[in-house]
């Protein structure tokens, strides 16, 4: 399977050793100022990712997982959005202190991003070769010809058949899976230290999803890129992430290693999510009308009008008066396992 191609290393620099923190988000608050009021899309989120590691960020629509990622690259549309507080530290620098042109040197170079729908993120009027080489010319200072050869090489590396021919193709001439490979080729063309993948396989069929996730793992192993994998799919997280952050209504409610999170979740929302998805193995072996899925009653609250206390309390089976009065602090209940729930100790202790 492995083709013998020369691989350039990911950039070296402070924090480039294995297991070193490359990117750290601290108490990030990104709010949207709309006619309907202030939408607290991200409201005090912190997480960090180490080189060579995959951090899964999960949550449902509107939980703030994508806005957090866009904030890292300072791509939140302003107005109405604004980062009102926090720090985003990349290799020792707070990205929020940089000028726009300094930021441009980082985007697509040190930190790059792939999106859910490759069709809307690729330029339909440019061949994929031009699009990939554009980034290489810009960030690596290569001549156009050399950059184009590099683009062919990148397409080969993401296992696109006949890269010499496909490099001249326009996005519409490629299938969804191929387009996502082009996106990955583009994102990795400058050997970024951090790759943010926002629902990278959600628009793809499951057999193609498996190919793309496999490819991301393979490239990560070669380049020891830190990956932030944003998804709503707990299966994708279980099979790809080393650590997981669970978000609900703009905040981080739980963080743990993938093993701890799936084997002993500490937040009622995480438990609810895990119970609400059918498990292929279990489903195949139970009478069809035998098991009900766990429902999380009600729906996600409006971010412009959050309930007092814990934002999950109105939907939570464990909620008490304490929960309805005050938002619980995010505490470390076990080594590396953080939960924001007044009842976490009880839930973790008696996890059954």
């Amino acid at each position: 399977m492995n083709r013998a191609v020369p691989v350039e290393q990911a950039k070296a620099g402070p924090g480039s050793g294995p297991d070193e923190i490359v990117l750290e988000i601290e108490n990030l608050k990104t709010h949207f100022f709309t006619a309907a009021g202030v939408v607290r899309a991200v409201d005090g989120v912190s997480y960090a990712v180490r080189s060579g590691e995959t951090l899964g960020v999960v949550g449902e629509s509107g939980c703030g997982k994508s806005v957090t990622a866009l904030s890292v690259l300072r791509l939140v549309a302003s107005p109405p959005g604004r980062i009102v507080d926090g720090a985003i530290r990349f290799a020792g620098t707070n990205l929020l202190d940089l000028t726009e042109s300094e930021m441009e040197a980082i985007r697509g170079n040190d930190i790059s991003m792939i999106f859910q729908e490759p069709m809307t993120s690729l330029n339909p009027l440019m061949t994929v070769g031009r699009q990939i080489s554009e980034a290489i010319v810009l960030h690596q200072g290569l001549a156009r010809r050399a950059a184009f050869d590099q683009a062919v090489e990148m397409l080969r590396r993401v296992h696109i058949p006949e890269p010499e021919r496909r490099v001249h193709a326009y996005p519409h001439q490629l299938s969804g899976g191929m387009r996502q490979r082009v996106m990955i080729a583009m994102a990795l063309s400058c050997g970024p230290r951090v790759l943010i993948a926002d629902e990278p396989t959600t628009a793809l069929d499951v057999t193609i999803q498996a190919q793309i996730l496999d490819l991301m793992r393979e490239l990560q192993q070669r380049l020891s890129t830190a990956i932030i994998l944003i998804t709503h799919d707990l299966g994708v997280v279980a099979e790809n992430a080393d650590r997981v952050v669970v978000m609900y209504a703009g905040r981080k409610v739980e963080e743990a290693t993938a093993k701890d999170l799936f084997e002993s979740p500490g937040h009622p929302y995480t438990m609810g999510l895990l119970g609400s998805i059918p498990n292929l193995e279990v489903a195949a072996h139970t009478e069809s009308r035998g098991v009900r899925l766990t429902e999380i009653k009600g729906m996600v609250p409006s971010l412009a009008n959050l309930p007092k206390g814990c934002t999950f309390a109105p939907r939570c089976g464990f909620a008490t008066d304490e929960c309805r009065a005050d938002y619980p602090p995010l505490l470390q209940h076990r080594r590396g396992h953080w939960v924001a729930c007044w009842h976490a100790d009880r839930l973790l202790g008696g996890s059954s």
Binding site: S175, V206, D214, I277, L280, S288, R289, L293, I296
Partner: protein
Amino acid sequence: MSAQSSDQVGGNGPAPLLEVQGLKKHFPLHQGIFSRGSGQVYAVDGVSFRIERGETLGLVGESGCGKSTVGRTLLKLLDPTEGKIIVRGADITDLDAAQMLPYRRQMQMIYQDPYASLNPRMPAGEIVGEPLTIHRIAAPKERRERVAHLFERVGLRQELMDSYPHEFSGGQRQRIGIARALALSPELIVSDEPVSALDVSIQAQIINLLMDLQEELKLSYLFVAHDLAVVEHISDRVAVMYLGRIVETTDKTSLFETPLHPYTEALLSAVPIPKYGARDRKRVILTGDVPSPIKPPPGCHFHTRCPYAFARCRHEVPALRQALPGHWVSCHLHDGGVRLPLAKPAGA
């Protein structure tokens, strides 16, 4: 021509609720304004199955495999190109719109996108009651009572009858769609990806509702979806489609335990399992993309991506045969006896 060799696929006994035989739906392709058709999209290319009363058949496959077209064609929302649709022993394939009316009452549909499938200018109560009007069932006053009852049954408050679709969340809209489908007390409901547009926590609510309703009303479902875990959860039997054809069909446990078709095997191993440690299981990762249904490959449609394909697969269409009791598969590997684990035949 038909790839399906049997008229008994997936069941036995007299006159099931629904039987589909050798169903085909081809769409002509047009290029330019004046030219004649320049080809066909072989969306559904010879599909047979039956659904018994109270049973759920899951129809699973990736985008473009024809699963939604099967659902629409058997409700005659699309005219079949070939094949038969038989409801309780009566052939409805060639009935006109007026003759179809009584059958429409028995067969209803739930759509994927609860945003696009509800008329935005109609209050929810009218949307749900519209089928009663069309079929001239119940006087206006009684109609409102029936709609109120339907609202309650799908877990919506009756006060919401006068609200418009945009005032509802995605999950609530799907409940409206379900209430509307139930209005005529149908026996069969075709649900086309009913939960794939919903967030996971809401998805569970809708799946539970569909299963409760089935229990209560003895409904039969054709459950069309791409998510194998959801399909396995809700179905009794599952049919796997690839490029317009059913490649395998059996009860859900056998499908999971002993997949006989290489495509089913790959599909099962590609589904991510939300359990730590699942990442270490052995996987079959397919190469390449699904070929175009305009020019499906000759022979077995799957041979271009099949890790076990041999010469015969490239020119001969495998028939859907019963390889194990109640377990149907169309694959040359099992010709002359089930061969497990799946492997390329020696000498091929």
